[in-house]
Amino acid sequence: MLPEADLARIYRSLRLIRRAEEETARIYPSDRIKSPVHLAIGQEAVATGICDPLRPEDVVAPTYRSHALYLAKGGSLRGMMAEMYGKATGVAAGKGGSMHLIDAARHVLGASAVVGTTIPLAVGYALALKREGKGRVAVALFGDGATEEGVFYESLNFASLHRLPVLFVCENNGFAIHTPLAKRWASEKLCDRAAGFGLPTTRIADGDVLAIRESAAGYVEKMRKRESGPAFMECLTYRWREHVGPAEDYDAGYRPHSDLEAWQKTDQVARIGGMLKAEARAKVDAAIEAEIADAVAFAEQSPWPDPKELTADVYA
């Protein structure tokens, strides 16, 4: 059993992501959020488990389903909410939206809507970190769909060849939009594919946030000490809501509701919350509700971007 402080920290991360996403879904039908949202409800454990062992100066590269990783790495909730509202105070000045969250101060690289594109960015960043020699690491987090892109294999090969401090994490939720793995993968042995490039691999099939955390911590520690090059983790998970948007879509027929029920039985937010004393948990919950309310109010009250912003920052 982890010390109470660790559990509280992990629970806070899980719960913040869950509640921020639920709030986003609640607000969404009002059309005040001006951005397609790909919610991570149900997938919190991967981002939380990966980020918990990271240091503030480590770097993470998210995909378009970016809210979880962004928040787990400490990205500004106010800035994220304002960004989704298209406000000037958004993290990307209202020009990127939900799919392009970034927080340079928290070392969250920009998210990308084109699947797989941020994987080599993390590798390039890791090249710079290796040269810097301060023990920092980069993490590329991506979905199962991204592993079908050629750039994924190119990136594994190059990172392994140069022994770069980068942790590749596939959060495998089983679907590329609505197309299941069975229609996309000739073999389910994803870890074998990564191992073929010489990377150590770990597959975590049950979504256990503590197992994800422990595995990531082990890899990251070795990378910091230059005892190993890149590593690969496959974490199975489940997207509770529709691919994009706030709703559930079990009536669409491409996946059964019983799958959701199975994953909900091992919901990590509830599990880790249950490990805390009720009083401690209530304290965390209350703080999170206040933080979310503050972020929503901030977004609502923030100004629209100045028209001059249209042409600003095309070039550095």
């Binding site: 080599p120 960015l121 390039g124 960043y125 890791a126 050629g150 750039v151 990136s155 060849l161 095309v314």
Partner: protein
């Protein structure tokens, strides 16, 4: 008359304070890289074969020995990921120079260049910058053919956030490469294989050729020729042929295409009343189309406009077909004269005179 600096009032800039020194285009590239790598430890050079015995036709010669394998290294054939690596490293504060021995291979980099490099500054609200240089070489002659000959600069000109430069001589290539490396934006750096052997006066010290400043490479009053990349050289030769026919062509080298010094082109064309843009690329939706469109939108007098470029075909390898594929000094001069004297009898400039001395310096295979 074999170098771009030999025409009347042409000359790519003044000689350096170290006095006259001629340098080949290829050596000017290597010198620019060496000087910037010396100056700034964040600069590194990578791409397939940058560190081999041929050293990208010599343009990376000596850099591995001088700066070591950590800053000069070859890559797997993974253009997509390597472009992403360059972008990631650039976001981390480094200044990568990514080398492609032919521009055609940039098609494998399109996703990263268009969807990330060009847009990162903007879509991340100014939180990052992507200072990177993508060196790429256009091939020509000796059967380069369909996939070793393409001038694809206009594809990159289309996308906001990228800069595109195409220096035509040794002086400009050094100044432009130093400027590109120091630039905080992604720069598509267009080189031409046939320019590699050309010589010009090149200062020894580092200097910056500012983007967005065209050069009037030759003064004239009758027609304005704009030559892009090595077509600038062809235009200068065409201007000599025209001079023999009593026509004085003004020849403009845009040097950088994004940003484009359109004011210099418009001022010249407004004065001569005629504008012929010759691109080292196809004309359809190309740089020539853009320059003519802007002229049509902006000119306050009637200007006769034409453009020339690759034949609207894939580049063939057979020499007689390949010769027809490209504009050359004779076809450029003929077109220019037709614009000035539409009723003049057919004119066939001496084809021997029109032959390009600089082209005969190049033998295959690459």
């Amino acid at each position: 008359m074999s170098t771009p600096s030999s025409g009347p009032s042409s000359g790519p800039g003044p000689s350096g304070k170290n006095g006259l020194r001629t340098l080949k285009y290829v050596d000017a590239i290597a010198e620019a890289l060496a000087q910037e790598m010396e100056l700034d430890p964040s600069v590194f050079l990578f791409g397939l074969d940058v560190d081999d015995h041929k050293a990208i036709q010599g343009s990376t010669r000596g850099l591995l020995q001088r700066f070591g394998a950590e800053r000069v290294f070859t890559t797997p054939l993974s253009e997509d990921a390597m472009t992403g690596v360059a972008i990631g490293a650039a976001m981390a504060g480094m200044r990568p120079v990514h080398v492609h021995i032919r521009m055609d291979f940039l098609m494998l980099c399109m996703n990263q260049l268009v969807n990330i490099a060009a847009k990162a500054r903007y879509m991340y609200g100014g939180q990052v910058k992507v200072p990177m240089v993508v060196r790429s070489m256009i091939g020509k002659s000796w059967g380069q053919g369909a996939q070793h000959s393409q001038g694809l600069h206009s594809m990159f000109m289309h996308v906001p956030g990228l800069k595109v430069v195409a220096p035509s001589n040794a002086h400009d290539v050094k100044g432009c490469l130093i400027a590109a490396i120091r630039d905080d934006n992604p720069v598509i750096f267009v080189e031409h294989r046939l320019l590699y052997g050309t010589e010009a006066n090149v200062p020894e010290e580092p200097y910056v050729q500012e983007f967005g400043k065209a050069r009037v490479a030759r003064k004239g009053k009758d027609i304005t020729l704009v030559g892009i990349s090595n077509m600038l050289v062809e235009c200068l030769r065409a201007a000599e042929l025209l001079h023999e026919a009593g026509i004085e062509a003004e020849v403009i080298d845009p040097i950088s295409l994004v940003p484009l010094d359109f004011a210099t082109i418009l001022a010249s064309a407004s004065r001569t009343g005629r504008l012929l843009v010759v691109d080292n690329a196809w004309t359809n939706c190309g740089a020539s189309a853009e320059i003519l469109a802007r002229t049509a939108e902006s000119a306050d007098r009637a200007i006769l406009m034409r453009r020339m470029g690759f034949a609207p075909t894939t580049c063939p390898t057979s020499p007689p077909l390949e010769a027809l594929f490209y504009p050359n000094p004779a076809t450029i001069a003929t077109q220019a004269r037709r614009m000035i004297e539409p009723k003049a009898p057919e004119w066939d400039p001496n084809s021997e005179r029109a032959k390009l001395a600089y082209q005969t310096q190049f033998r295959g295979p690459f």
